[in-house]
Homo-oligomer: 391 residues x 4
């Protein structure tokens, strides 16, 4: 069996650990494939790689005991005991995690970093990452590799003048100053080796024109951004209800509270700004007009791995009569995101195998802020994905 590498950025974070532990649990028959989109019957004939074909490694800037942290996260998510059952897989994975890139990640992330590689320029960082990826592919004889960015959200990174031109960017990357944030450096490294890059976060990632050019030139594929796992997912179907019923949305207020490491990073106003921007613009696209909206995200440590969202939708009906819909979403982020990481790895692998290059707009249903398309309606996105697969 041909094998495909799945390389996780933020490799010791909650989503990565649940992804790896969960993959092992599925392989061992300990759990059904709930939450995997690509395990729906509609995807059966598409020719996606079997889950068994996936091999995991990754980068992280924080030193964390993988087995203990996986046990803690899984127990908090309501799956106690699982980490012990897949301890071997976690240990193997832990050995495949390499020191990550912190430079350019902003003060909060740099302060957390106690296992970062020591690159002095962006170019050195890319070389180091690329070397790690190549070593992993060689060690496991991997046909293809999918890099998935699951790291904490970066603060907004000011676009550099060279982002529009690959040659100029390469030159600038030789200097000591950061010209790309870590999320983009990983994308750069992935593209250099014709690997896939998937940005599950709202950070810059591959949304740099020169990087898009590089991907096409090298035959790499990429997709993003910001995994759609909770409140925004619900929004993306409910907004369509209002559109199809011609009920004007007057205001849509959403408040998220969460307690994990990502939440702690989002406490910092600069990191939060990146996130809120990503969550707040799909309504206009689905509704065809821009209602009054606000999205709040706050850290509430006691919640641990859980994320609660409360949304209050104020809408008008016939004759201007005013009504409301409220919802409360109570989700474990890692449990929601991990199966999508497996889906994305399989889909990007499929695209590489088929010789696609550049942005994979068909992966839109997985993202809050999809690249390559303006389609934000979940059903339409999912139908387009199936059409792309010929399924």
């Amino acid at each position: 069996m041909e094998r495909t590498g799945v390389w996780l950025i933020g490799a010791r974070g909650s989503i990565s650990l649940v992804t790896v532990a969960g993959h092992a649990a599925l392989a061992a028959g300990l759990a059904p494939p709930a939450g995997l989109v690509t395990e729906r019957p509609a995807f059966a004939g598409a020719g996606l790689a079997p889950l068994d074909a996936l091999v995991f490694g990754g980068h992280d800037v924080r030193a964390v005991d993988v087995r203990a942290e996986a046990a803690r996260v899984l127990a908090e998510c309501g799956v106690p005991g699982l980490a012990a059952q897949v301890a071997d897989a976690l240990d193997t994975y832990a050995a495949a995690v390499r020191p990550g890139v912190a430079r350019g990640g902003g003060g909060v992330i740099e302060a957390l970093a106690d296992d970062a590689c020591g690159a002095r320029t962006d170019a050195e960082a890319v070389d180091q990452v690329r070397a790690d990826l190549d070593a992993f592919k060689a060690a496991h004889g991997l046909a293809r590799l999918v890099v998935v960015n699951l790291a904490s959200t970066e603060p907004p990174f000011p676009p550099h003048p060279t982002w529009a031109d690959l040659a100029a960017l390469r030159t600038a990357m030789e200097g000591e100053a950061s010209v790309l944030p870590p999320s983009a450096l990983y994308a750069f490294a992935a593209f250099e080796g014709a690997d896939a890059y998937v940005n599950f976060t709202p950070s810059v990632g591959s949304r740099v024109p020169a990087l898009a050019d590089l991907a096409v030139a090298r035959g790499a594929v990429h997709a993003g951004a910001d995994g759609k796992t909770g409140e925004t997912l619900v929004k993306s179907v409910l907004a369509e209800l209002f559109a199809r019923r011609n009920l004007p949305v007057l205001s849509w207020f959403g408040q998220n509270i969460l307690g994990n490491e990502d939440g702690r990073v989002l406490e910092h106003p600069e990191n939060k700004a990146t996130k809120v921007r990503s969550k707040d613009h799909l309504l206009g696209k689905i509704l065809g007009y821009a209602p009054e909206t606000k999205v709040g995200i706050d850290y509430v440590g006691s919640l641990g791995e859980w994320k609660i969202a409360w949304d209050h939708v104020h809408f008008a009906g016939f004759l201007g009569g005013r009504m409301t819909l409220q919802f409360t979403w109570n989700g474990c982020d890692s449990i929601l995101a991990a199966p999508l990481v497996l889906d994305l790895a399989r889909l990007a692998d499929w695209a590489l195998r088929r010789g696609e290059r550049g942005v994979l707009a068909a992966l839109a249903p997985f993202f809050k802020d999809p690249m390559g398309t303006d389609e934000q309606r979940l059903v339409a996105q999912d139908e387009a994905l199936l059409a792309w697969l010929g399924a």
Copy 2:
């Protein structure tokens, strides 16, 4: 301009009054057409009748002061003052309302009836209704007529052996015993005159094989059943989220509380049984399996025209992790239903004009329990409606 009659059963009930008052308000430019599906841009080229072309009359078994009741309902729905602004239209309408059919409606409805026609057999009732419809058409020179059933929910009516055969049914209808409930007698009368019949309630209506045959034979059209205005509407988009994300729904509990006349009728166990049955089966069709479900409906008088629904969705994610989604819907039923009545009148009129006959499956997005199709997903239903219209 050709004009079309809209004949409302339950003509003095909340939905009817808001429909007529709202229609007048739109005509007078007092309100935008919010909540009308057929006013979405996508419907612009379909050739539907203009709203101005509609003329209203109806049947009711309760004697109610139309103007005062409309004022009360509209004020409760947050639109005070409107009834006074459209008083002329309400008065004209009040004069066009005829005594309705109570026989066969069950004890609760029969007890409420203080303005019922005195038919002694089902056949007489149909004749009386048909005479009223013909008189209305003649008086206004109407090209076509759409009967819309907005009456309170009937208790379950045991199917009669003759329902499968039109001739036998006709014979049975000559006897003193009720063989059809009022909702079906109105459909019978409508079909006899090649008019349209739309069942906005969960009552039997046109779901009688012999009636379906009569509609085809006479060139009548019909659609139903049970308007999808609130909790079930939300369900029909949210359930698709769980299906498309492959998240198993463990249980879906829904509780409705409402305070209007319909709610009072639903207090009676036999009437409630009809309603709950209609609300509870779309989940299985959308999800492809039957989760644990329950739907409660209770009368809480203080709510007046408002209906509150609380739904608790318990679902599993990856590795069996359990999560929840709850929503609270706070809607004014008449405000939600009235524009759909206008939509349905226009669409049924269009079908008659085009020479269609029999069940209009394309009207599925308007109903909890659509006739002629198993499709329960709102988006797919709406796309099918647009396709039917060639829009």
Copy 3:
């Protein structure tokens, strides 16, 4: 150290198991005494028995593996691993559980009973229970014993003419027909030995005049009924807000969904009737008038040990302006009830030690339907409890 017995009816049910496991965990220093009212600083000087002084046994009619069931319940309640840590205590307890009384418990309970004692008359049942209690006291050298009824809710039991007269009741109990439900038979047995009886359920228990006489005659104490652990607890403080602010409550609708064995028993209409009656009458007492109310309880199996309540309070303000308060309670019933069982055991023990006899009205804060007082306001109840203790 003097020791006190705590004898649990429904000994293999969730609450009992969490009570015993939790008691062992506290003793071992594995958990702080959260949720125990009597561990508040205000109770420190009252002279209550130390928790270490309590020894557990009980009756049950269902044969259940105590250790496995405790492990399941605790894991569902978010405390995985604890059962294993207190396995010895659970085993000791399991050995002290005796076959219970099923006769008179109604069809549902009798059908579940696979470990019931074989008494042919109520008198025999009381003798059997009393013998078990005496054996337990002797085996452990117990100074006092508190029987706590934690069994599933019984259906309404029609009052027997002899309930008003102890002698007549004793005679009737010699016959084959049931004249008392199990909850009352246990109370009878407890009183015969001058032990305490606490009714944590809405079943009849000690609310029989002849039994009250027996308690006073023998020097026994008793309290109840129906533990106030969730929705009703919240009601009992929120209702006071509306009373003190002079805000008229128009309607208060509460809906409970739960998934444990108690819920399954409540599925049966007759058992549910007992419960709903108990939950629904405190509002009138706190508010001073009777608003429109409804309380629903439904079984939703997927919830397991969890109980979710949604309450919708519709109230009027100044000038009749209408507003709402909604709350959702998401609680694990056993986790909420178990510490109160320990509280009640200590408080009833204290009363016995002080020579009290008859109803302990001061225990009102623990009950939905307190005996011996009409006070339903939590704060006033709690202050009265402290005053009784001289604390």
Copy 4:
């Protein structure tokens, strides 16, 4: 009948208008006294002034058409038609409103001010206000006057070194620089004339040591701060539940959204800071420890006069089991606040009549941040109020 003046700061704002219109409606028998604490039977014998004895005037810095604005606010609050019924009272009131003080109110408030008096020093402002109060008292032959601050929340005002010493403060007030914000200038003016001052907002008001001295010296009374009308009111009873049940609160997150003028002012970070501080500290006082808390307030214009609060309470039970309570409050702020303004006027009037001087700690139940006491529990506060009144 002796008459008492009620002088409203923010006289053309929503609360003031509902207070005056509502007072007139009560006088005319158009509405029952719902929402007035002092109309509870327990207050009947206390000797409070009859509502008829109150006469209204006030200050505002914004020019607003009183009758039109009252009509708009009342209609939004669900009481359409009332403004027209009390038009005369509104007109009389409008004529009694004088230009207010904007100096020292911060940029946002100063920018809104189009009807401010032109004082050039704080001393001049106080003189102008005092002159207005005296004129009002003279015109109506008022025995006593109660000034109630209902103006928009001021931004934090840095304490001035002279605040501790009345003589030094008087001197500083002669300068051009603001040394007191408007809320304190009104208090100063009230105290100078031995009138009462009630601070219904979180602004500084009378919380200035020199002002407290002045009140005692002159025989004035005062109370505050920040009316407890919604989310905090609910908190103040629910927190006691957790305290009395010994259930540790892990975190308490509250989010408010509101659409009125106050909300618009709170959009400004500096004004919001004052408000959040006031809402967030009662939990520690009631619980006896400080849980993780956050309170958000956001402006959502479409809500108009309505305020929605969502609170998520995360708490631990026995054995550390984690549970949640959520509530949603849907209130019309003016409807909730206006009757309390009438209560406070009567109570402060009573205190003046009895010769009290200085802070009225007994008025604590009306405030989020009560002066003169640390008691935050609603029930205890209300009992203390009744005791103070000898009721």
